[in-house]
């Protein structure tokens, strides 16, 4: 599992090997290290369409391989890969059907036991799917990967203030849906 506090120390070595020697195996290690984070991110964005998410994830890593020289260790490698994934997702959405409008939270009934509700993966998926893709992305990047507001703004290509309000709005909508006060 990739965690904000513990970036894999081997990552920088693998990146350097790919850039300097076009090292196939080193790139494979990078893919293996980050595949779960990137695929889960795209799974959420595509409303759990695993086939589409995996296709986009493959495209993401291929693009990362082709452009790895432009990474130049600015920030975290995973953040850079998330940015590519988000760009590909948005491009595909715009090319196919546009980013869909989503309904407001009115279809989920609050139960008495908040902990039980949150633990229910299906309910959580349902609520995440009610958010807009950019809100979903902001939630995952902030709460799952502990990225900062500027990092999220860079990945989603938004002004910092917009990214902050996006995250705040998404957070509020999720809390409302959970009935957590």
């Amino acid at each position: 599992m990739v965690d904000r506090a513990e970036p894999d120390p081997r990552e920088a070595v693998w990146i350097a090997r790919v850039i300097a020697h076009d090292d196939h195996e080193a790139f494979g290690e990078l893919v293996a290290l980050h595949q779960s984070a990137v695929r889960r991110f795209l799974l959420r964005l595509t409303s759990n369409d695993s086939s589409r998410a995996d296709d986009l994830a493959q495209d993401t890593f291929l693009k990362a391989y082709r452009h790895i020289r432009s990474f130049q260790a600015r920030g975290r490698f995973l953040s850079w890969v998330f940015r590519i994934a988000w760009q590909l997702f948005v491009t595909e959405e715009r090319g196919s059907r546009g980013i869909a409008e989503v309904p407001l939270f009115d279809g989920i009934q609050a139960s008495d036991d908040a902990s039980q509700r949150v633990a229910d993966a299906r309910t959580f998926d349902q609520m995440m799917n009610m958010l807009r893709p950019d809100e979903r992305a902001a939630i995952i990047l902030h709460y799952r990967h502990e990225l900062t507001h500027p990092e999220i703004a860079e990945i989603l290509e938004l002004p910092l203030g917009t990214a902050k309000s996006l995250l705040r709005r998404a957070h509020t909508r999720l809390r409302e849906a959970h009935g957590i006060r």
């Binding site: 196939h24 293996a32 799974l43 890593f61």
Partner: protein
Amino acid sequence: MEFDDFLKNEDPLPDQGFTRAVMLRVERHRRQRRVAIAIAMIVAAAIALIAPPSSFHAASTELVVAALVLMTVCSLAWIETTA
């Protein structure tokens, strides 16, 4: 448990051949790059063989232009497959 805890406690997705699939695509990309460069080299060799020997001795403007164009094509092919 709040939703941020829920997100943090999600199990990692098993690879299930994903990395291998990506690496196959990377390998295909590298092969395409090699093919593009090989084609450019073959074209260069063909031009060299077809061109009359006198043109080399003369080093005409056309020859210089052709060489520059070929060099540009090779460079673009390289950039396209690596950048």
